[in-house]
């Protein structure tokens, strides 16, 4: 509290007057004879206490009256804010932070909450006075100050607020409030205020108040909350969309998991529409309980290979921006796998060492409705086969290969093919090292050099197990979850000791530390070496349940490794990727609204090109094009953060230090008046005089309260 005329406070000495009167009138009694004091004494005991309290109350009322008179003359000012304690001549330095996160995009009774917030910001800026300095900032994820420094230019600030668009991003309070505090901290000679104009969604404030102790914010800086929107409207949202398949093959049905959230107090129905490449394909009605999230699965069929745009949508409501969600999926042709098995000896039955691999990849041996089409050929039979038609080639326990096949395998691998090699009792390490590594120079086939055999598959005295499994690798990632199996339980009785190449990845080790499975990127392709057999002659893994998922995951990882995959992101998040120099020609980013932006690429080592873009503010389906838009390299979806759909408001009392500055249109003071009051405080002179008048009435009534009847 401050006083415009503090010297009037000396008048407070006037409280001595009622005290003196109180004491004086106690001391002038009249002497009177009375027959007997018997009844008087009894009455006095009864009345004395009441009288004492009454007299003290009267004295207190009179003292308060004098204090009020003095205060009214001294012109007191009262304010909640630290600003109000300063002189009215002190200039202000303030920051207006406008929440433009997606949750502000809802409408309440037909009025856009964001437009209301923008009007509030302009009202606050209108109160800027000569000598004041200010800046404006945006609250979204990540938030920022539009002008990093304070400025005197009121018009520029108002113009910037008028041009602020609604963001589709989430809310990160700290990213704008902390820089604002940092900006104001050194300006101790100013009245410092941060105005936060927000819809106060709990999902955005809760993490902030949990992480930061606002009570520790410098006391000289006022934090003012300007809430907009009255209540949280009912909202339904599509908060998740994903394909529940590691790889999507054309013509195969794939379950799409759609997550729906009902942020309202009653159960509601939603009609989910699935569109693929803009064409409505499927519809399903789903009922969701109040304040609940529900997953629903819809089977979809993709016929177009390459990148596909999937959209899940529900009917529009108060918050339209979260009523649809996008997904970019890459659809592959069914994967053709060539297994080169050992040649059958004349007069002997057909070699079946490939059977466990073939059976795992295509159990029913069907070429339709299966992800993998497997062909088994001997090395002799493979002479005339064009390897480019196969996504993966498997070499199974080969003794020797013809130089021509080795050359074709090398070319195939360098051009982007995938090779997986199983060893066995036919393998001669010296021949493998010489012909598959040394003789090929830089185009070698194997990721490791092969040495001696370890263990004895005949006696099976010792069973080795796989340890140090790299569950981060796509081939083993499926085993990361509990209950999904453990490849380490398989036993390997015999295997080859190998030494991985310097650039190779070691995917597992044997139980005594030697490498078990090794993989290396070769050219544009990948080569994997399994140090034991593909059948049950050296190991029991092929008959254990983890064999099939391992093979499936390995092959999927191989065929998808060369594709540029970008997962769905939130608005404003950066997208970066590395592509080959061939792909990087005239790269463009096609945004959901159809506009195309040129992607700036940086050339790195080995002819690779790296690019990053932050132009992801829109929600929807983005394409990365090369060759001036002729080829689609990849695509990705940008979706709003699910927590923005939850519009439940936080109770202001849970946010420390913030002074509320609420306003209802047409009722009470305007925002401008409230800002002014907050800045200068309340002039209490009028209130003091009013209280004085009221007190005089009370004192008069109380003093004349008929405790006894006056003598007529």
């Amino acid at each position: 509290m401050t006083f415009a005329s503090p010297w009037f406070l000396l008048g407070i000495l006037g409280i001595a007057v009622p005290i003196y009167l109180h004491l004086y009138y106690r001391k002038t009694p009249v002497r009177k004879d009375f027959p007997s004091l018997r009844l008087i004494r009894l009455s006095v005991e009864f009345v004395a206490r009441r009288k004492k309290i009454r007299n003290l109350l009267l004295m207190a009322l009179r003292i308060i009256a004098i204090i009020l008179v003095v205060m009214a003359l001294a012109k007191p000012f009262l304010g909640q804010s630290a600003s109000a304690s300063n002189s009215s001549d002190t200039p202000a330095a303030f920051v207006v932070l406008l929440d433009n996160s997606m949750s502000m995009g809802c409408t309440h009774q037909g009025i856009s909450v964001f437009n209301t917030a923008r009007a509030r910001a302009l009202d606050i800026l209108d109160q800027m006075q000569p000598g004041d300095r200010a800046t404006v900032g945006l609250i979204n994820d990540p938030g920022r100050l539009i002008f990093p420094q304070l400025t005197w230019d009121q018009e520029t600030l108002k113009k910037s607020i008028s041009n602020v668009p609604l963001s589709m991003a989430g809310t990160n309070m700290a990213s704008s409030i902390l820089p604002a505090l940092k900006l104001l901290a050194p300006l101790k000679t100013y009245r410092r205020v941060i105005y936060v104009i927000t819809d106060m969604t709990e999902s955005s404030w809760q993490p902030f108040i949990e992480k930061y102790d606002l009570a520790k914010v410098e006391q000289g800086i006022d934090l003012v909350m300007v809430p907009v929107g009255d209540t949280a409207p009912d909202n339904m949202a599509v908060t998740g969309l994903e394909a529940e398949a590691p790889v999507i093959m054309s013509g195969r049905q794939v379950p799409l998991k759609v997550t729906l959230a009902n942020h309202s107090q009653r159960s509601r129905k939603a009609r989910v529409t699935i569109s693929i490449n803009g064409e409505r394909k499927l519809e399903e009605e789903v009922e969701i309980e109040a304040n609940a999230v529900k997953d629903t699965r819809i089977m979809a069929n993709f016929n177009v290979t390459g990148m596909n745009q999937v959209t899940a949508a529900i009917q529009n409501d108060a918050m339209p921006f979260d009523d649809q969600r996008h997904l970019a999926v890459r659809v592959f042709e069914p994967c053709r796998v060539l297994l080169i098995k050992p040649d059958s000896l004349p007069g002997q039955p057909e070699n079946r060492e490939d059977i466990f691999v073939r059976f795992a990849l295509n159990p029913l041996n069907r070429n339709k409705d299966n992800n993998f089409a497997v062909e088994s050929r001997s090395a002799v039979e493979a002479r005339g086969i064009d390897l480019k038609n196969y996504a993966v080639v498997g070499l199974i326990n080969q003794r020797h290969l013809e130089p021509e096949l080795i050359k074709r395998l090398s070319d195939y691998l360098m051009a982007g093919g995938n090779l997986i090699t199983f060893l066995g009792n036919r393998v001669e390490p010296e021949w493998y090292n010489k012909h598959l590594i040394d003789d090929l120079g830089g185009a070698y086939l194997l990721p490791a050099r092969i040495y001696k055999r370890v263990g004895n598959a005949v006696s099976k005295n010792v069973g080795y197990q796989m340890t140090d499994i790299d569950i981060g690798h796509p081939a083993f990632s499926v085993f990361a979850r509990d209950g999904s199996g453990d490849p380490g339980r398989a036993q390997i009785f015999e295997f080859f000791q190998v030494r991985p190449n310097p650039t190779a990845l070691l995917l597992t080790r044997m139980s005594h530390g030697l490498p078990g499975i090794v993989e290396e990127k070769r050219g544009r392709g990948r080569s994997m070496l399994v140090t034991f057999s593909a059948d049950t002659s050296w190991t029991n893994w092929p008959v254990r349940p983890t064999w099939l998922p391992f093979l499936h995951q390995t092959l999927i990882a191989m065929i998808t490794a060369n594709e540029l995959a970008i997962s769905s992101i939130r608005p404003g998040m950066p997208v970066s990727a590395t592509v080959t120099g061939d792909d990087a020609r005239e790269m463009l980013l096609k945004q959901p609204d159809g506009s195309q932006l040129k992607l700036a690429a940086q050339t790195g080592a080995q002819g690779l090109v790296h690019f990053t873009t932050r132009d992801t503010d829109q929600t929807g389906y983005y394409k990365i094009l090369s060759d001036a838009g002729k080829r689609t390299l990849s695509a990705f979806a940008v979706n709003p953060p699910p927590e923005e759909s939850k519009l439940e408001r936080i109770n202001l009392r849970r946010i420390p230090r913030f002074i509320p500055l609420a306003h209802e249109p047409g009722r009470g003071r305007s925002v401008k008046e409230k800002v002014s009051l907050l800045r200068d405080g309340y002039d209490l002179s009028g209130a003091a005089l009013l209280a004085l008048l009221l007190l005089a009435v009370i004192e008069s009534w109380f003093a004349n309260l008929p405790t006894a009847r006056r003598i007529e």
Partner: protein, 303 residues
């Protein structure tokens, strides 16, 4: 001049003239002859020995039985059955509080004495016997009931000679009076009752059980009834000389409530026991009080 003309300052001729047509009627049957207006349950006229009792100050020395004194060294009075019609006992509270004189012309004791003298005159005039007892902290003086107008002078002299002083102890005093009243009669008490109400009521009831006719004049000054004080006041107690400082204005409501409560307590408790309770407000004319007394007596005797 005034004094010579009057028998006593307590006997106002105008008052007596106004009351001349009035008579004291006993509410119930009393012992006595038809000489008066009172019915008697006894036949014949006897002067015979009744009983011995201990001497109390005020008893005539001639009534002392010297033979008993010779045997026991104690004074005993030999009592005989009264041959008069009605024995009236005027019992006067002479404590300090009775000396209070408010806005009116008489103090409480003067007012009570006038009432008593007037009643004595009327009773003697109709051949009843009248006695007088004064008390404060204990019995002060007792004049045995006698008939004849000559006895009026003794009663009036005693009333004039009595000065109000000391504290009140009504209970103990009534005990002593009761012991000295052997013959049933009318017992007229004049007091401001500045003592424990429960004790007073209890003692009066005891007297009533001895078949005495009891009339109580509650003598109060107008100041005591209306408490017309309005300032911070030091009240001085006329009995024990104590003082109390208080705001009379604030005390008034509570005081009046207590006075009213006290009077209602006496009224209801005594009337239930067949005791006449009359407020003698000293600001009221004596005649009015006496008229109300007589009208009440007449109403009762007509039953």
């Amino acid at each position: 001049m005034e004094k010579t003309r009057r028998l006593s300052r307590f006997l106002d001729p105008k008052l007596l003239a106004a009351l001349s047509s009035m008579e004291i009627r006993a509410r119930t049957v009393v012992e006595g002859m038809v000489e008066g207006l009172h019915k008697s349950p006894f036949k014949g006229f006897n002067v015979e020995f009744s009983e011995y009792r201990q001497y109390v100050p005020g008893d005539p020395l001639k009534d002392i039985d010297w033979k008993v004194y010779g045997r026991t060294d104690k004074f005993y009075i030999k009592e005989h059955e009264e041959e008069t019609n009605l024995s009236g006992y005027l019992v006067m509270d002479t404590s300090g509080s009775m000396s209070y004189k408010g806005q009116g012309s008489m103090s409480k004791i003067d007012y009570a004495s006038t009432l008593a003298a007037s009643l004595a005159y009327l009773m003697l005039k109709q051949q009843d016997s009248v006695g007088l007892v004064t008390f404060a902290n204990g019995l002060r003086r007792m004049i045995r009931p006698r008939t004849g107008m000559a006895h009026l002078k003794a009663v009036c002299n005693e009333l004039e000679a009595t000065k109000a002083s000391e504290v009140t102890n009504i209970g103990a005093s009534l005990d002593l009076v009761g012991q000295s009243m052997k013959k049933r009669g009318i017992f007229i008490l004049f007091s401001d009752l500045m003592d424990n109400a429960e004790v007073i009521i209890q003692k009066l009831r005891q007297l009533r059980t001895r078949r005495h006719e009891i009339v109580l004049f509650h003598v109060l000054d107008r100041d005591e009834i209306s408490f017309p004080f309005d300032d911070t006041t030091i009240f001085h107690d006329l009995e024990d000389e104590s003082e109390i400082v208080t705001d009379a204005f604030q005390l008034r409501t509570e005081y009046l409530r207590r006075v009213k409560h006290l009077m209602n307590t006496f009224k209801s408790a005594l009337r239930k026991s067949g005791i006449d309770y009359l407020i003698a407000d000293t600001s009221m004319p004596l005649e009015a009080n006496l008229r109300s007394f007589f009208s009440r007596r007449q109403a009762v005797s007509a039953r």
